[in-house]
């Protein structure tokens, strides 16, 4: 197909995302592939403080990211607007950018591969019609509930409502046509507890697709319990012991782990698991799955960021490394097929590879049973410094932590200002118990209680 400037006048209305994406894809010239990712989002953010609305933002935004593969070179450009002249300029810019990069024979856009997208119902009209006054009321209710939760709650640093509704369309000159949309909303609060000179904090939240999914009490109780149980925390002696990760922390660990299972990192010599396919890399009770087709997962979606259907990928099965995640490019280079694992950070980023909905296969024990089995150790309720203390290339893992010592199989005294350290490789091998308490969290990973032995804790 040839393209001329006169096409600009035919650009569809800015409200029809699929039509805009299709129009851009149709502009591909000979020996050229064009992909357009068009997204539109609506969101509200409300923060209350001291019984008053501190800020209320509501906004709609839209943008486009265009990828051009010309011969065997790829360029990308984006813009925060769907105005026809801007879209045309963005395409021109992506084309221009392609001429400055190196040739790579493996480059190319996704093409339909016959895998049917999961039928997922992630859209909720009731969220879109939910009145602002009700959102404010819920945030105020949450703040009150946290304050009333315990006499030691000194302040509520912030109580927030947030919601978003995002629609996106992908079209390519290679035949991809994908459209999806999803809603989410949350309530969150961070509590500050104090007793004498001692101050501790804890956060709680509730997440769902529509207001009916949200639980104000549960979010408040969580924030209160987390903040108050750390009061009186001390710094323990340095030791090597078994740590029990609460579900939120396990989810964080899985997100880090996903970075090492990305096929592109493997190809480029940046993964500590390269060459280990088929080998035992973890405790036999560890089965790790990335399944964006599971509607319960927070970031579920029928399509990946290149418009291929998402699919269930088993990465580690009974401790044995089974698979890496691939997008179209990395799969072609590795001589395999895409696992439907292209991800991107909105319209402003070109697609990379990553996990969307990780989870460990739950074990059979309740969190209490895991603690009893562990006997002596440390229950970790929060970690900090994931970005500064975890090196996904070398595997070194060292993060700040807060939690409660475990003694005789039960929670004992709270501890703070400590680090927990090991390596990603050793932590996987040293898993000793997997909890049954699978919990879907606002993350690319679900959580559950996980016990890991021989972790260094630095304190006094």
């Amino acid at each position: 197909m040839s393209a001329t400037a006169s096409h600009v006048g035919h650009l569809p209305d800015t409200g029809d995302l699929a039509a805009i994406a299709g129009w851009v894809a149709g502009m591909a010239r000979d020996h050229e592939q064009v992909e357009a990712y068009v997204a539109k989002g609506r969101e509200t953010e409300i923060r209350v403080f001291d019984g008053e609305v501190e800020s209320l933002s509501s906004a709609e935004s839209a943008g486009i990211g265009i990828r051009v593969v010309s011969g065997s070179r790829q360029g990308f450009a984006y813009a925060g607007s769907l105005e026809p002249d801007v879209v045309a300029d963005t395409l021109k810019e992506a084309r221009d950018n392609a001429s400055f990069v190196s040739e790579d024979p493996y480059l190319g856009l996704a093409a339909p591969d016959g895998v049917e997208p999961a039928s997922l119902d992630l859209w909720r009209e009731e969220l879109l019609g939910y009145p602002t006054e009700q959102k404010v009321r819920l945030a105020l209710e949450l703040e009150r509930a946290v304050r009333a939760g315990d006499r030691r709650i000194r302040a509520v640093q912030a109580a927030d409502w947030g919601d978003s509704a995002v629609e996106s369309a992908i079209a390519t000159s290679t035949g991809i046509r994908a459209f999806s949309r999803r809603c989410s909303c949350y309530l969150s609060a961070s509590a500050i507890a104090g007793e004498g000179d001692d101050t501790q904090t804890g956060s709680g939240y509730s997440v769902g697709r529509s207001p009916a999914d949200l639980d104000v009490e549960a979010a408040a109780d969580d924030a209160v319990a987390r903040a108050t149980r750390l009061l009186g925390a001390t710094r323990p002696r340095s030791a090597h012991l078994t740590v029990v990760l609460e579900p939120r922390i396990t989810a964080t660990l899985l997100s880090v782990l996903a970075g090492t299972l990305d096929g592109e990192s493997v190809l480029k010599g940046r993964s500590l698991f390269a060459d280990r396919l088929g080998e035992k890399v973890a405790f036999s009770g560890v089965t790790l799955v990335d399944d964006p087709t599971n509607p319960e997962a927070y970031s579920a979606g029928p399509y990946d960021a290149e418009g291929l259907a998402t699919r269930r990928n088993v990465l580690i099965e009974s401790g044995v490394l089974q698979k890496f995640l691939y997008n179209t490019y990395s799969a072609r280079r590795a001589g395999t097929v895409s696992t439907g694992s292209a991800v991107r950070a909105g319209y402003a980023g070109a697609p990379g590879t990553g996990a969307r909905a990780l989870s460990l296969l739950p074990g059979s024990k309740t969190p209490q049973e895991v603690l009893r089995e562990v006997g002596e150790g440390l229950l970790v309720q929060s970690v900090s410094g994931i970005h500064s203390g975890v090196n996904p290339v070398s595997g070194d893992f060292s993060v700040g932590a807060e939690g409660v010592m475990v003694s005789g199989g039960s929670p004992a005294g709270p501890v703070r200002e400590i680090t927990i350290a090991s390596t990603i490789q050793r932590m996987l091998a040293n898993v000793v118990a997997v909890g049954a308490d699978l919990e879907y969290l606002p993350s690319n990973a679900a959580g559950l209680t996980l016990a890991i032995s021989d972790v260094a804790t630095s304190g006094r």
């Binding site: 501190e54 800020s55 360029g75 984006y78 925060g80 607007s81 221009d96 060292s398």
Partner: protein, 465 residues
Amino acid sequence: MVLIDQGVLDVVLRRALRSGGEMAEVFAEDRRSNGARFDDGRVEDMASGRERGAGIRVVSGDTTGFAHTADLTEKGLLAAAEAAAAAARRGGGSVNVVALSRVQAPSPAEVSVLPENVAKADKVALLSRADEAARRAGSQIRQVTAVYADNRRQILVANSEGVLATDDQVKTRFAVSCVASGDTGLQTGRESVGATVGFELFDTVSVEEMAAAAAARAIRKLAARPAPSGRLAVVIKQGSGGVLFHEACGHGLEADLVARDASVFKGKVGEAVASPLVTLVDDGTMGPEWGAIGVDDEGHPAQRNVLIQDGVLTDYMWDWMRARKEGRPASGNGRRESYQHLPMVRMTNTYVLAGAEDPEEIVRQTPYGVFVAQLGGGQVNTATGDFVFGMTEAYLIENGRLTEPLRDANLIGNGPEVLRNIDVVGNDFAMGSPGTCGKDGQGVPVGDGQPTLRVSALTVGGTAR
């Protein structure tokens, strides 16, 4: 460049206050960015982007209403003004819009070569030069990633108090990351440089030297042993540890967190909060550093603010909202990621002034501890003061000498305690690598710096038994 005509601004501000409120503000932004990435022996990607729009806020009593739009026409702006006004609580008497008058602020750095005037081919050429230099450093280097990025951010701020300010912020950045492979597995080394300047950055920065430094770091770490575990003396090399102050006290000195009762430094102005050797400054005028600005994102000219003088807390950092509540002037620290965000109190370039000690002597006087030559990021809980920061190049100090390299680990401490435990400060000084500071989901460019100094005891989060 005129993002919005003055006549339109006037109409929009009046509309925003029509149903009440004490202050209305229009923040318009036009940002262009361009970047290229070299990886795995090839120029892998070149990307460019354009974001343009305006955020409008209306403040009524203690409530702020906010709306943003990518439509900078009068119609689009009026719609956003109505939405922001509706979001702000009604009530409070409406005030008049004061005639707009231009805020005069010197530019922190003259830009001589605008990135948009540089051929993309010249930007790309830097990348392959870095790759070659890194691979020359040794056969252990298995992978090299080099990233070039520039952006130009033109902003306009107008508010009903009569402020009319513009700024043209140009920033250029270059980074090299290497992976080395050896018997002990894989190791990484990184080096990055960024400044509030254009392409002339490369008149003074050699991408080959940066690449060689990143590669040497990765290779040295192949021989690294696990970091110690426990409380140790920690010496931090000049220019590598500004992030310590950013986390240990910088965030805790942001007036919004203080007002929320979420800072351990609340109520401490006039008190000794650090070793008398510490004088801490936040300075948005410090060009061409990464956090430099002409005006902040509320139209207030950048300032040099002394936060801690000889260990005594002198002031917090302020934005318009918190300053208004306290009936005092703002300090040029009201910043936001983009027109889609509300401003809040943020740091700019935060640094500790040089002291008196010879830096080499500091190491010689340390019988046992850790010498940190490069730090990664960090994180703080301002309410408790507990913070972490990661070391990405470090050595063991034994008997006053650097001995073995150490593997990556986080350090953890409590802000007020660590500030008091600074027992020697060197007579050298350097600013560190460009940083992006995240707060409430918004990232803004910040700089930091310090002389070589020692913390008498900090918890090192290694694994050594």
